[in-house]
């Protein structure tokens, strides 16, 4: 009670932190992107966010170990972590000399709690809750990693693959053989992006 900074009982959200705010990473954000105000962008390497990307509240984009690029129309849900984390790089993958960059293609959906560590993900992929994509992995186009699925370090996932179970894979032939399906999926994704853009108040100014 003696500390005047801690007595704001009515409005705890307005209490300012005593710590100095973390330095902003160098960001290049398209004005058409949607970034919720409680999304976290952190790190020292550049972060590029393309147009119509939607970052939900409490998503984390970390560029501590390498640059992060988020493609057009990506949806990143809450608590997803995109970007290589410091411990995994320092302990195991000493062979990688260049900073591991994380690249999300166009129209990628990253669901809740997903961890993505320095890898490339192709267009139209869907990564379901709590999946893990290891460092240096390459995920092709229109892939799907189901809930709790895991793509190990440095693995390569071909186009149209579904990763499920304990490292099992199969090819989504509907997606592979029917161009109309892919077009439909793209159209649906676009509508989803538009819907979320209307729901989530964007706060790009905070990061640029």
């Amino acid at each position: 009670m003696s500390d005047p900074k801690r007595t704001s009982r009515s409005a705890p959200s307005k209490r300012t932190s005593l710590l100095p705010s973390a330095p902003k990473p160098p960001c290049k954000i398209d004005p058409a992107a949607t970034i919720a105000s409680s999304t976290v962008l952190a790190g020292i390497h550049p972060i590029t966010i393309a147009a119509h990307a939607v970052l939900h509240p409490h998503a984390r984009i970390v560029s501590a170990e390498g640059p992060v690029t988020i493609g057009e129309g990506c949806i990143v849900f809450e608590k997803a972590t995109i970007g290589p984390l410091a411990p995994s790089t320092s302990t195991e993958s000493a062979t990688i000399t260049a900073p591991p960059s994380t690249i999300l293609g166009k129209n990628v959906t990253i669901s809740t709690g997903v961890t993505i560590e320095g890898c490339a993900i192709g267009d139209g992929c869907v990564i379901e809750p709590y999946a893990r994509i290891g460092q240096g992995a390459k995920v092709g186009r229109y892939c799907k990693v189901v809930a709790y699925g895991e793509v190990p370090k440095g693995a390569k996932v071909d186009d149209y693959t579904v990763v499920y179970g304990k490292g099992k894979r199969r090819v989504d032939r509907t997606m592979k053989e029917w161009g109309e399906m892919r077009e439909l999926k793209e159209a649906v994704h676009e509508r989803q992006v538009r819907g979320y853009q209307g729901l989530i108040p964007s706060n790009i100014a905070k990061w640029s």
């Binding site: 509240p57 809930a147 709790y148």
Partner: protein
Amino acid sequence: MSSSRPARKSSKGDYIETDSGNKVSRKALITGTPNITLAGRTVLMPDVHLRGDIVRVRPPPPTTTTSTTSLDPSSAATAKPSSSSSSQSTTAISIGKSTIIATSTILRPPARLLRGLLQPYPLKIGEQVLIGPGCVVESAQIHNHVHVGARCVLGAFSVLRENCRVLEGSCVPAGMVVPPGAVVAGRPARVVGEVGEGFGVDGVGEGWVEGGELREVVRGIR
């Protein structure tokens, strides 16, 4: 969590208790508060995400003035009450009495495309439901006395009926309807059995049983 550590002395508790007995952790992450209904004696533990902002927004006023003029007054008259009622009924998440949402669980109302627009649907959770830590809930409805284990993923528009039990680490696929009294498990979740006869029936002096009344448990949380 750690019983060895002495209880932290703080003038303000870790939970904010409302008039109706809801206990909401100060560390719960809640967006869109006006669209969330807690019935009373509901516990939201730390790091619980409630996405109340994913709610059906009122459709934009009809701009099609091509309709005949004779319809205009009636449409204007009907538009007003409907718009006011829709603004009142925007509920994203409703949680019943004595329900506990454990740590790091995410409740996100499901959404799907309807007539070319993304339409979120309300996420309804019944009474005496326990949702374990680390779950992702996108269900359309969870009925009363449901027990969901830790680290489950409940897919979009799934429905969990009364007295069912989801074992930990399961992934209930999108749109699945879990029948009453079923036990489901696995990735993807399948019905693996039925709950016993005593499910949810409180024994005498045995404390809490799965699916049972959570009132005493809620009372113990502070």
